[in-house]
Every structure is written in C-alpha cells, then in structure tokens.
Amino acid sequence: MIIRLKKQVINILKVLKKKPSEVIATDLAKELKIDYIVLMSAINDLIEHDLGYFKEEEVYQISLNDEGIDYLNNGLPERQLLNILLENNIKELSLDDFLERSHLDRNIFYVGISNLKKKRWIAQSKASGENKVFITAEKFPKTVLERFLQKFKENPTLERSLLSKDELVQLDLLNKRKLVKKNNRTERIINLTEKGKKIDISKIKELEQVSKITSEMLSSGSWKNYDLKPFDVTKPGPLLKAGKLHPMIKLINEIREIFISMGFTEIRGPIIESAFYNFDALFQPQDHPAREMQDTFYLSNPEVAKLPEQDRVKAVQETHENGGDSGSRGWGYDWEIDTAKKTVLRTHTTSTTIRRLAKFYRNNEKPPVKVFCIDRVFRNEKLDKSHLAEFTQVEGIVIDDNVTLCDLIGLLSEFYRKLGFKKIITRPGFFPYTEPSMEVSVYYDKLGEWLEMGGSGIFRPEVTYPWGIKDPTRVLAWGQGLERIAMLYFDRDDIRDLYINPIKWLRSQPY
C-alpha cells in the first residue's frame, strides 16, 4: 500500500529519521520553528500510518532559586569566608570580627563556618578566652558540590532524569540547603516505530493540498488523499450581513421591561390629536406660547377633530375660565371651542395620558392605575445636531389615593436605578400642568457629571377634576425624551443619527 502524507509530515519524518533517539516534542517544535499544535497534528498523521508514536512522561526539572543563583555567581558561603581569610593572609580571627567582615547574614555565616569545619579547613578554639577560628589546611580544592553547582552555569534548568547517582546526592545537598526550585511538567516524547525507522522516504507520496472538502470526497472517502490547506485563523472573517434589531428598539424594549416590572401597563393613543387633548385638557391656556404655530404642527387635512362628550368639554372649559369645581381661579379668559377642535401632531404623549384619565372616568374605575407610554411625539422644529421634529417620549403615570410627592421621588429613583443610574436628584421645576413640579437629574458615572433627564410632578387639580379624579386621589407623572438616554447609551453626538440608519453603524452596534 502506498503511503500518502502531507508535505510537512514527510519533512518531519525526515528529521526524525536522522535523530539518534527519541526527542522531546517541544524541543523539536523549537528546532523546526513550527507551532507545537502543528507538530503534534503531523505526529498524529505518523501515528495513523504506524510510523511513529509518542509517550507522555513527567519531567522533573530543577533550577536554582535566587539564593542559589547568588552562590553560583559569588561562591558558596564557606568559599566566600575562606577567601576573606586567604586574601587578607589571616591565620586566626575572632568569630565576632569574622562575622562583621563577612557582611553575611548571621545564619548563613554559621552555615559557612560549620561547612569549613566539616572539611577540616579551619578549626575553632576558645583557648585564648576568645572564640577564634584558625586555618588548618594548606590546599582548598573545589568541592564536589561546587562542581555540581557549576552545571547550572551552562544550563539554568537540569532534568532530574538525566542526572547521575552522584549528582543526585549533590542535588540532595543543594535541596537541603534550600537553594533549588523544582518544576514538574508532562512532556511528549516522540519516537519512530520500527516501520518508521525502516521506511524509505522516497516511497512516500505527497498528499494534494485542497482548500475545500467536497461532498464527493466525503462519500468516496477520498478526503484521506488530500491535505486540507490551513487557514490563517487570526484574520477577521468577511462581514456577516445578519439581521439585527435597531438599537433604539432594544432600548425601548428595555425601558418597556422596566415599566412592566414596576407594575405599569402600556398604553397607546392617537398621533394626530385634537388640541383639546393635547393642550386644553392639560390646562394650557389658549394663548400659551407653546401652542403657537412655530412650535406645533397643525394640520390642514383633517382640519378639525371631534371633541368628547359635551359635559367633559364644558368641565375643561370651566377650569380655564373660572376653575370649575377644581377650586382654582382659572385663567380668566373666554375659552373658544374651535381652538380646541384644531388637529395637531401631538407634542407629547401626555395627550394619551389624558385619554387614559378620560377612560378612568367613563368606566368608573378605581385606583390604583399605573400606565406608561413610549411613543413618538412631534415639534415643529428645524433638524440639527440636537433637535428633531419627531422623537420618542417616555412617560409614566400613577393614579392612586393619597399618593405624595415623596412617592413620586420613590418611583423616579426606582425607574432610573433600573436604567443604570444609581443617584438622582429632584429639583424644583415648572410645567404648566403639574404642581408641585420637579426636574430630574441623574448622575452619569461615565462622565462623572449630573445630567438633566426630564420632568415630573403631580397633575394639577385643574387637569384631573374634569375627569372626576379629586383629592385625595392624585395623579403622579413623569416623562422625558428617549433620545437623551439613547445618545448616552450609544455614545453619539448627533441626534439625527438615530433615525437616518447608517447601515455601517447599525451593523457594528454592540448594543
């Protein structure tokens, strides 16, 4: 049978055949300058053809620790001490002076002294009353231990299995003096089988390199005869044109989840709205600047909307004119029904909130009612970096008995905490349809600054009384533009980007 191997495997086989004995895989990889993984996959090919094998062996390696390296360079303490005596031609020295001159640690000093004594190179005597040492030998050859230590000079790590019996004794000594450290690891030892040693390289055929596996190769089994070309796995792949949600939708869904988790139900209302629901029912006087043409999109088709039941329209009219039954003085002007009938593109989702209050009234509902709305609103503005004519508003409403401003602060903290802002402050603010009113700011860790988020407050009695919601039943409300949060989340500084769909950006958005 003809043996077919990849070109690289053949080359490795050639190298192995020239080696006198088994080789350690990591050494061979280093020698061939190839990746260890690549080498082992080649060895696996050899194993498949019964040309080679490997075994795993635990390798004990020894190297010197810092102290050992110090002695390797400067001599063992006994040698250092001896040199002091020899170099200064000292025959006898008091132990205390010796310690001082040696600059050695007291313990190490005594280890050195004790080893010199064991060698009988020095002796110690208290004869003169003082504890002194004397040189007692004439020659001071290199010790076996010192010679063994020198082995580390050539090779910082020694393999335990390659040491002789005598060397092992010396290693034991170093070990006892705590001068070595041991590393154990598993090495693969590669060797050729008898077949591998004998095989004639010229009889081996090279596998053809291909980049793709075809279904034919698989069914016929011919894939074995090909070498699959390796890929550069570090390279980026081509762009995947996959489906993905728009970041704004993900954000909206996230906020929707937050509301649902806080017990709020989602509401939805008309985008084209009557001025009645958009302004009048919010106690915005008919000459209020916000109602003017330059701020609001009015429609010429359809030009007017139908108003709700007459008595409710009248109730709203009265709050404007004289406060009605709300206890207010009203604005004191003549309210015009035609102004209320005008159609507008709603300027806030609060118009939908009012419709919810109206439903509460009509169905004779009981509190509590908690609702929210995340939806499009419109302002008659020219588009620029920070202004849109159409954007998304987030609004939350609670209708309940005896609810307080402090309850509203509680809701706001909870809502913004869930959005990822741990600290909020609420400051006095002004909105025509809430009293008291609060501005909300959150602390944004990333920038380390306070950011204004939105408005909040308790709906004025002039707003709720026409819908039968009377003290101590009150309506807490808060709202803000979603784009403000979106710009932070997506790190954009041009608000228009959120609605012009740069595909490159959409495809690359992590969020």
Partner: protein, 558 residues
C-alpha cells in the same frame, strides 16, 4: 426659558452675604433656578428661570428669594409706598382696544450702570413672560418731570393724532404712519390689527406720553439727568398689568428708589390706586400640605417653610389651618395646590425622603408585543432593522414611487418649518427605499426592514385619522428578485402559523413590475403587497440593482 446674568458682587451686596460661585451653583437649584453658565474670571453666573416666576427677572428679585433660602430675611419683604397725588383718567373708549392701565411714580432714582441695565432687561423679560410680547401687557417708562399731570388714557382714530416717536427720524408721524414705517410699529402692528381706534396716553398739555403697546413719545425720553419716573402699564388682562407693575415697582424699590402711588380713575367705573402691593391672604389646610408632599410637619415648621420662600404665615382661627399671605409680585398662585410646591421648596427638595408604594400588575400593549414578534421573525430571516420618521415628504412618498398623490386624500401639515415634511406616511416602503438610497454604497446584499406606524385618513374616527402598524422589508442586491422575497413572505407566514391560510393574488401596482407583483390575502382580507420594484422607481432613488419588497399591515393580522 428666560435667562439672566448675575454679577456675584452685586448679588452679594443685595443678599448681604459673602457668596462663592460653587455654593451658588448648588444653592440656586433649590429655589427653582437653573445655572446655565459660570464665568469664574468675571465672577458672573447666568441663570435660567421658569416662566411662572417673572419676579426672578432681576437680580433684586433673585436676591429676595436667596435671602429667604439663607434665612437672612424671612416672610414678605416690606416695601413702602407713598400715597401720591398724580392722577390718570381712563376714557371708556379704550375698552374696545386695550382696556386696562395701571401706573406708578418712582422718585429720587440714582441708578448705577448695572441698575440701568437691569431696568432695561426687566422690561424685556416682563414683556415676554407676562406680556405675551406686549399683547397682554406693554410697559412705558417716562421722565416724570417732562410731562404735566393729570394724564389721560384714551383711544383715537389712527390718523387723528401725530407726535414724534422715540427711535424715529425726529419728525412727527401719525399712528397709522408709525405702524407702517417705524421699526417698532412694524413689529407690533399685528396687535392692533382690525382695530378702529388706537390707544394713546396724553398729558394735560396734550403731549403724547405713549402709543401703547408700540412706542413712547420722544418728549418723555429717560436720560442720565432723569430723577423721577412715571410708569404706565397697559394691556388686555387686569391681573397681568398689575403683576408686571408690582414686579417693576418692587425691583425699583429694592434699588433704593421711592415708590409713589398714582390714582387711576376709570371714568365709567372704579377709581383705583396703583401700585397696590397688598399681599393676598389664603387659608390653607396644614394636613393637605403634608399629605400632598408626604411629610408630617407641625404648623410651626410649615410656617417656617413659607417664611423661607418669602410668604407670611400664621396660625388661622380655624383649627388645623394657616393664614398665608402671598406677596404682590407673585402671579403664579391660583389654587391651593400651588402652596404645596411653595411648601416643598421652603422645606427643601433636597431633603424630601423617598417612599415606595407597591401594587398593580403590568401588561404589554398587544400591538407592541406583536410588533416585537414580527421583529424576531424578520431578524431570523436575516433582515437588519431600521427606523424612520412618520413625518414624510409627499414627493418621495408618492411621486418617486409612481403613486398618485391627491392632497385631499392625505394628511396635510399646515405649517411645517421645513418643507421636508408636509405629510405623514401611509406606507413604510418609500422610507426603506430612501434608506437604501443613503446606504447604496454599503456592502450588499442589503436586507432591511422596519416595523412602525402609518397614518390613514378616516372620517369615522374621532381625530379624522387612524393609526396602524405595518412591517415592510426590502432586499437590495444584484440577484434580488420576486422568488427571494416570496421565500421571506413564506417564512413570515410559517412563523405566524398562517402558511396554509394565506395567498398571493397576481395584481398590478405602479410601484412594482407588472407580472412580478401580488396582493397578499389572509382569510379573504387584503393584508399587504409583495413584488419586484419598478425600474423607474429604482432610478428615482438612484439605485443600481433590483429591489424585492413586501409590506404587511399588522393590525389586520393580529
């Protein structure tokens, strides 16, 4: 929101306390002011105030509030008004055009440069915040010593009176000419539009003080030498003219001037004396305040809160109630609920505790949940989601798509700031074509979708329109064709469980290629359209490859 520049040095003098910019930055927010800008070098700050507080339109007004916040002065500030002898007569004819006037006299003014500047800005701000750009209130400031009382507020035929107006060419003009030629006349002519007679104020020598709300006569010009002022405030709202006068007078009093009252005699009615700075008294339930905010303060503590925001307050004869007096420069108190906020500001928003109330189970809106289901399906089909405006441009929405556009059949915006938007969308597809246009150089295939609102005219609806939700998808690349988009539609219908119940009937649509278009039906109802886009449409959107598209109405499927 109106903004005001404050010099630290001046504010310190008014408040009577050393102030640091960084402290101000913190403190101002608790009295309802927003710090817009800080100029450390020049020791100036710029603050923004809310339109319900026109009394914040001068450093003097802000200092009043700060003094309360720092507890330097509590309760209503005292202002002395000397009863004056000067009179003004109001003739009944003005009722038709500008019915109300109130006046005041200011003596011994000695204004420094900053104070003169304040006097100018405060007028500007009051015109805006209280006066609705002079429609509701217009202010005239005159040199008292150049005119001879008593004065007369009346109305005259436009061409019957001539005088030399301020900021004119120095020639006399009649009222009609002023409205036609004079800069201020042109600006404010709309307020007098359609009126037969125009308001005017004369002195007893028939010299013209003012032609409100347009321009003063040159004769009363205020100069460096002016020692005494005459103020006139005319308008259409009695409360508003009084409020503006009170704010102006108290500010001038805070500058050290002497305020003197004027007798305003309506010939057919009341004789009043203005400015009238008498505080207004309200009776407030202490429990109501505490329950509204969520506190439980004693009456003594509540009184302190009111004193800090410069209201007077004391125990009422009625048990559990307070008598609270509101200073005459505050115009925003119209309901007892307005005291809850004042109380909370006096207590300090920063000190309010937070409480958590439980209850209620939340629910998704069905159409939103269904929209999300469709989004999941579209992503599974490999489509990238985009978002567009509901606002739309009829040219691209219809003409580019080869669809007929009749104004009567579509929502029409009356007053768009930009011509870009003149209607709202009825289908999403044209928006996706536009998205392809902007992204046509991106790596293809481009497969995008949008789920969103459309608006349809419907006279049976309350608002004359109905709002529905559509999904549209387009595929744009060299090999995009009907088969591809049909596979997508089949996938959507399979995912929704309608694969056996839906059908595509061959039909025609000008936006699509004939023979490669069909109407989509579900249980006999048309729910959408599918096909290959017409080459002319492709060219209109500057595209160079075919587009296969579909659009479904979710309202009809849900």
């Amino acid at each position: 929101m109106p903004t005001l520049e404050l010099k630290l040095e001046r504010l310190e003098k008014l408040v009577g306390k050393k102030l640091e910019i960084k402290d101000l930055e913190y403190d101002l927010q608790w009295i309802g002011l927003d710090l817009e800008d800080v100029n450390v070098e020049e020791q100036k700050v710029k603050v923004e105030y809310n339109p319900n507080r026109p009394d914040y339109s001068s450093p003097e007004g802000i200092a009043r509030a700060l003094k309360g916040y720092y507890e330097i002065e509590l309760g209503i500030p005292s202002f002395e008004i000397t009863p004056g002898e000067i009179e003004l007569y109001v003739e009944p004819i003005v009722k038709k055009v500008r019915p109300y006037i109130v006046c005041g006299v200011v003596r011994n003014i000695d204004l420094d440069e900053d104070e003169v500047a304040t006097l100018m800005t405060i007028q500007e701000h009051l015109h805006w915040a209280v006066g609705r750009d002079r429609k509701k209130v217009a202010i005239g400031v005159h040199d008292l010593d150049k005119i001879k009382p008593p004065y007369r507020y009346t109305a005259v035929k436009p061409d019957s009176v001539s005088f030399i107006p301020l900021h004119g060419d120095g020639y006399p003009m009649n009222l009609e000419e002023i409205l036609l030629i004079h800069e201020k006349g042109i600006e404010y002519a709309h307020i007098l539009e359609g009126k037969e007679v125009y308001p005017i104020i004369f002195d007893s020598n028939d010299e013209v003080l003012s032609f409100p709300p347009v321009i003063n006569g040159i004769i009363t010009t205020v100069t460096d030498e002016t020692k005494n002022l005459f103020l006139d405030l005319t308008g259409t709202d009695f409360k508003a003219v009084n409020l503006a006068l009170n704010i102006l007078a108290t500010t001038l009093a805070d500058m050290g001037a002497k305020i003197e009252s004027v007798k305003v005699n309506y010939k057919d009615g009341e004789k009043i004396v203005t400015p009238n700075l008498t505080p207004e008294k309200w009776e407030i339930d202490i429990n109501y305040l505490n329950e509204y905010i969520g506190l439980s303060l004693s009456s003594k503590e509540v009184i302190k809160c009111f004193n800090k925001i410069r209201f007077d307050a004391k125990q009422s004869n009625k048990k559990g109630y307070l008598d609270v007096w509101v200073p005459a420069y505050r115009g925003d108190i119209m309901h007892i609920v307005d005291f809850t906020e004042e109380f909370a500001i006096g207590y300090g928003y920063e000190k309010l505790p937070l409480t958590i109330r439980e209850g209620c189970i939340g629910e998704y809106h069905p159409i939103q949940s269904f929209s999300n289901k469709i989004r999941t399906i579209m992503i599974g089909a490999g489509y990238l989601e985009v978002l567009n405006f509901i606002l739309s441009n009829s040219d691209r929405q219809y003409n580019y798509m080869r669809q007929e556009y009749l104004e009567k059949d579509h929502v029409q915006i009356l007053n768009p700031v930009s011509k870009e938007y003149n209607t709202t969308r009825t289908t999403i597809l044209p928006k996706l074509m536009e998205t392809l246009l902007y992204n046509r150089s991106e790596e293809k295939p481009l497969r995008i979708f949008e789920v969103g609102d459309i608006i349809l005219l419907d006279s049976s609806e309350e608002t004359g329109t109905k709002r529905e939700v559509n999904v549209s998808a387009v595929s744009y690349h060299e090999f995009a064709d009907f088969t591809e988009i049909k596979s997508t539609l089949d996938f959507i219908m399979t995912s929704l469980g309608f694969i056996k119940e839906y059908e595509v009937k061959p039909s025609e649509n000008p936006s699509y290629i004939n023979g490669r278009y069909g109407d989509i039906y579900l249980k006999g109802i048309k729910i959408g359209e599918i096909g290959e886009i017409h080459p002319e449409v492709l060219l209109n959107f500057k595209l160079e490859f075919p587009v296969a598209a579909l659009e479904l109405n979710l309202q009809k499927i849900i």
